[in-house]
């Protein structure tokens, strides 16, 4: 779901970045910080995400039972087994911690990859215009119409073995489309500005104009795009893993839900097996969306509540 505001004002304030003095950038940075620490949505969203990232990073230090050790099955959460044990007697907490790592990792690859593809195509289409724009637009429209998850299932049906990296890359290749559209539109509005014309006149190459003149002027927007793509990738990966198409050797939040569903966690009432992974995904992605709305308000003076 696109929750980006119309960010015209932020992208179009229009001072040529190259000319902006050191003092100005410093003051603007402090200004962002001033509004950032006062924005409740941003603080809440960000702290939830950071909490889960920390859990993924340092959680393994607190794991008491190995993921591969088989203890007593069906145990509800207790002091020894924090999240209980599953059908086979494995510690759900250790599965959760390692699954969280994998899910965040796949989400990060998917989010970064999609942002890079979306940026490349978006800048190219918006800056070059003409034939390049037409072609990239058709490609984008085609991919936009094909349901991403169904395409992923088709690919996975022929692949048979997937790793986290392949999974992340596949997700990136199917989710970049709306980002490209948004970035293309923003680039269009920047290309006609004087400072881009000046850069062209001074003989800069297209690539350096895009990297040094256009991209910095929409850096806040690009960051918001990345946040949304990151969240989206985590969601897609969860569905993909749940269908049993994810990494063949490993654990992820989606795989946990798949196993819980396959090994009758529902009739046996082992709710501690499938509630934590899904709740973690909802918290992380919800936190990212909240942080996105907060950041939008921080970057965009029009939306600030004073």
């Amino acid at each position: 779901m696109t929750v980006l505001g119309t960010d015209e004002a932020a992208a179009g304030t229009g001072e040529p970045v190259a000319v902006v003095s050191e003092v100005m950038t410093k003051r603007r940075r402090f200004e962002f910080l001033y509004f950032a620490v006062r924005n409740k949505k941003l603080i809440i969203g960000l702290s939830v995400v950071v909490l889960f990232v920390l859990m993924a990073l340092f959680g393994p230090l607190f794991v008491q039972h190995s993921m591969l050790a088989y203890g007593p099955p069906f145990r509800p959460p207790s002091a020894s087994y924090w999240f209980g044990t599953n059908y086979f007697g494995q510690d759900v907490f250790s599965e959760f911690v390692y699954g969280l790592r994998e899910s965040l990792f796949v989400g990060l690859i998917g989010g970064c990859g999609a942002t890079v593809i979306g940026m490349t195509f978006g800048f190219l289409a918006g800056y070059k215009g003409g034939m390049v724009d037409e072609l990239l637009n058709v490609l984008c429209n085609v991919l936009l119409t094909i349901p991403g998850l169904v395409l992923l299932i088709l690919i996975a049906g022929f692949l048979h073995h997937t790793s986290a990296i392949i999974e992340g890359t596949l997700i990136a290749c199917t989710t970049w489309t709306w980002a490209m559209r948004a970035i293309r539109a923003q680039t269009f509005s920047l290309v006609s500005r004087d400072f881009v014309g000046l850069a062209r006149l001074s003989g800069q190459k297209s690539r350096s104009i895009i990297i040094r003149e256009i991209a910095p002027n929409m850096s806040s927007y690009l960051f918001l795009v990345f946040i949304l793509l990151f969240g989206g990738a985590i969601l897609v990966a969860a569905s993909f893993d749940f269908l049993g198409l994810g990494p063949t050797n490993g654990m992820s939040l989606g795989i946990m839900m798949e196993q819980a569903s396959d090994w009758s966690a529902l009739p046996l009432h082992l709710w501690w097996w499938f509630v934590p992974p899904g709740a973690a995904i909802t918290c992380i992605v919800g936190g990212l969306y909240f942080a996105n709305v907060g950041l939008d308000e921080v970057f965009n003076p029009k939306l600030r509540e004073l």
């Binding site: 085609v142 349901p147 998850l149 088709l154 899904g278 969306y289």
Partner: protein, 330 residues
């Protein structure tokens, strides 16, 4: 108007062409072609392996030049021939799909439409009432951030497996003991089995529409025409009506964009509830290495999404006067 629709149609034709080509190309791209994968499950002797391999390659037409295979593929496609299913063996893929497609449509169409209308209404209400907004906004964001499989499992646990009660059956399209017939017990069984998958799809989509509409209405209520109307002394009901109608246009575009996401969600939801729709079938096709069925369902879903997109386009033309008169191409 005609230009707008023709342009859209061209894109849909290109999409279908690309999708069909992907469908044809994928099994030929992966290492270890489908035939060797099929044979690896048969435990054949080395001598018989080679003979069988050649026979299968010939039977599936893999030994011919690639462009000939591609042309044959299109020829078969235009004859409505998608091959024979392995999962339900002697049946042709098209008739297998026909058995399952009604369940998917019965799930998707009400879920999409009801979530769309309810979400828009609630979002518009939230935009003008702060007290309602304080609950709609966080709940909406959490719902859109929820993974389909989790919501499906949660609802199944709470309402079907006895977390709260056993109000609904946990899986299947209808009770096992029943034969399909148009009598009351069977229809009731259909409805109870349908409800939880429907609710899952409805809830996730609902959150997205509510947030989208809320943001759009707030944006519209700050625009010049609103201020002008207010300055003229127009009643706030009239102002809100105009804001709502203007906000409907981006929401309608959003509906076309969201179709793919909802179809993906339906696949996961059907699998969770073992609901006998196309999503459930496509996973069976993957699990049974039934490539014809897999390819057939993929193409079928693409066609369905394209038709739905075209319907949205026509509604857009009806709703937006600018596309009708041809002032802008939208």
């Amino acid at each position: 108007m005609r230009r707008y629709l023709v342009r859209k149609l061209i894109i849909y034709v290109v999409t279908f062409f690309v999708a069909a080509t992907i469908d044809w190309l994928l099994p030929r791209l992966v290492t270890g072609n489908p035939v060797s994968l099929l044979l690896s499950k048969m435990n054949l002797q080395p001598q018989t392996y080679n003979a069988t391999y050649n026979l299968y390659m010939k039977a599936f037409g893999f030994n011919r030049p690639w462009w000939k295979q591609y042309l044959t593929f299109w020829e078969a496609l235009f004859h409505g021939n998608l091959g024979v299913s392995i999962y339900e063996f002697p049946k042709p893929v098209t008739s297998v799909i026909a058995d399952y497609v009604l369940f998917t449509l019965a799930l998707l169409i009400p879920a999409i439409l009801l979530a769309y209308f309810a979400g828009n209404k609630v979002g518009a209400m939230a935009a003008r009432r702060k007290s309602l907004d304080n609950t709609v906004l966080p709940v909406g964001y959490l719902l859109t951030a929820t993974a389909y499989p989790w919501l499906a499992l949660l609802l199944a646990f709470l309402l079907a497996a006895g977390g709260i009660g056993h109000f609904f059956p946990i899986s299947g399209g209808f009770a096992y003991g029943l034969l399909p017939a148009w009598d009351w017990p069977f229809i009731w069984s259909l409805i109870t089995h349908w409800f939880l998958p429907f609710l899952t799809l409805f809830l996730v989509a609902f959150g997205g529409w509510a947030i989208g509409m809320r943001n759009l209405i707030i944006y519209e209520l700050e625009s010049d025409y609103t201020h002008y109307l207010e300055a003229l002394g127009a009643p706030s009901r009239l102002v809100r009506k105009y804001a709502y109608r203007n906000a409907m246009l981006p929401q309608l575009t959003g509906l076309a964009l969201q179709l793919g996401v909802i179809v993906g969600g339906a696949v996961v939801t059907e699998v969770t509830f073992a609901y006998p729709g196309l999503g459930y079938l496509i996973l069976q096709a993957v699990g049974n290495d039934d490539y014809f069925l897999l390819q057939g369902i993929f193409l079928f879903i693409i066609v369905g999404v394209l038709v739905a997109n075209f319907v949205v386009d026509i509604i857009y033309v009806l709703v937006d006067p600018r596309t009708r008169v041809g002032i802008s191409g939208a």
